[in-house]
Symmetry: C2
Subunit: 294 residues, 2 copies
Amino acid sequence: MEIVKPDSTPLADKLGPVAILGVGLIGGSIGLALRNRNAAKSVVGWDMDRSALQAAVVRGAIDEAADTAAEAVKQASIVVLATSNAAAIGLLREIRPSLPPDAIVTDVGSTKRSIVAAADNLLHGRFVGGHPMAGAETSGIGAALSTLFVGAVWALTPSQETEEDTYDRVVALVKAVDAIPYRCSASEHDRAVAYLSHLPHVLAYGLAYTGGEAVPEDLKGLAAGSFRDGTRVSQSRADLWTEILLDNSGPVIESLEGFVRWIEAARQAIGSGDREALAALLSEARRARGRFPR
Amino acid sequence: MEIVKPDSTPLADKLGPVAILGVGLIGGSIGLALRNRNAAKSVVGWDMDRSALQAAVVRGAIDEAADTAAEAVKQASIVVLATSNAAAIGLLREIRPSLPPDAIVTDVGSTKRSIVAAADNLLHGRFVGGHPMAGAETSGIGAALSTLFVGAVWALTPSQETEEDTYDRVVALVKAVDAIPYRCSASEHDRAVAYLSHLPHVLAYGLAYTGGEAVPEDLKGLAAGSFRDGTRVSQSRADLWTEILLDNSGPVIESLEGFVRWIEAARQAIGSGDREALAALLSEARRARGRFPR
């Protein structure tokens, strides 16, 4: 893993024509960011949902709407897959025959091993997996923002197949939307985000359910900031998160097991009134948080 | 439980002299809020930590610093205990001989049964337990804000001993700092906040520790918004939270057990690839969150 310094690969030229497949929160925000900055020659969009696609035109997230994914990529220099992971793997097959010879492909999915493996097979070096660490609990083109990625880390997971030029062009795309490229392997990525994104989502859903069931309606107004923050991402789409957790089940289960071990230790200390043990657990955890940026 | 409507008990007169024992984040913010609004005849402060007490004078959170807790309450109409719960119970004994006959006492602690029981014994009707749902992960007089309580719910837990006049005067104090009084019993409060504040804190500490240990330093930059929000309150003071969790151990353990049951169900579904079961758990949790205000 290395952080690519903002000045190490200057955004010399405007990006060529960009195709965005899937114009929801992430795809729509990429389109808005590129068009607001005039960073791409053109932005063509496609979405399974025709009304979302029309909304993307109206919002100015894309220049043009294509009827099919294959048609969208025909003139593209960079193709961004911004659908669910399963759909993205299907799209790789669908668009391959229509891709111009020098076009490259990237994606924005929350897990990287499965799509990178599929793309290595299908695209031989013209793919880099990507994951902007800048989602939101909102979804859809209506929630898209041209500033969604400003200052956010954007993981890039080139494989041994990936050509250096392909990687550089995706770095340029990431920089064009003011995000910070963060290079690591697909498996490093998937294990880290199990702990840093997937586990927090599972905890948020679990806290929302547990509090919602146990606390009578007339006392729910006592919900404090810690509950609001701790459950914010439980408002994310359940279907997408079902897919993410299943696609990354190994690392996610490892993270859940580690987490439950800590909870059991805390419960022991609380149940037995062991002040010293509990204070040590909390202090250690407080210090652990301090080792993260921000 | 009932929400006292903002207009049901008008803040007719200025509050009399207020004494604040403990001028940290909460006590300091109460002082700032009262003085900025010119809502109290005077605000006298005391703190075990002399430098915090001096800082409270400099910041304008109190008019005057007292040398002892007993001295601080001598002229008071309303006494606010804004220390840890254990210290507050000790202070009740210490100040009782010096309290003017018509002075009333309230506190701001995160648990209510233990202090209400102690106060019922010592003050016979002149005490109302309080808990502003507006903390922060910061602490100390330096973090105090005159606006900390604006629009926040402030739980009030009168007991059968509490005189109606005592209750009304604490409601007036709460309204004076622009918070919303929320009446419930001490045991209703303690069970609800176990789920809505104490459980979220335990989860935040556990997530911080688990992520901090498992993720290599050079991948910690992948921490997403869900991790930041989910661990925010792990920066709270470990000593205070040790005390809160132990003081409310029964309801906290109940909440941890309920939470771990949900996590085990989620782990089962993820481990066995049961898409339908996992989607149902997440959707149900998402709906449960929707039953909370905001």
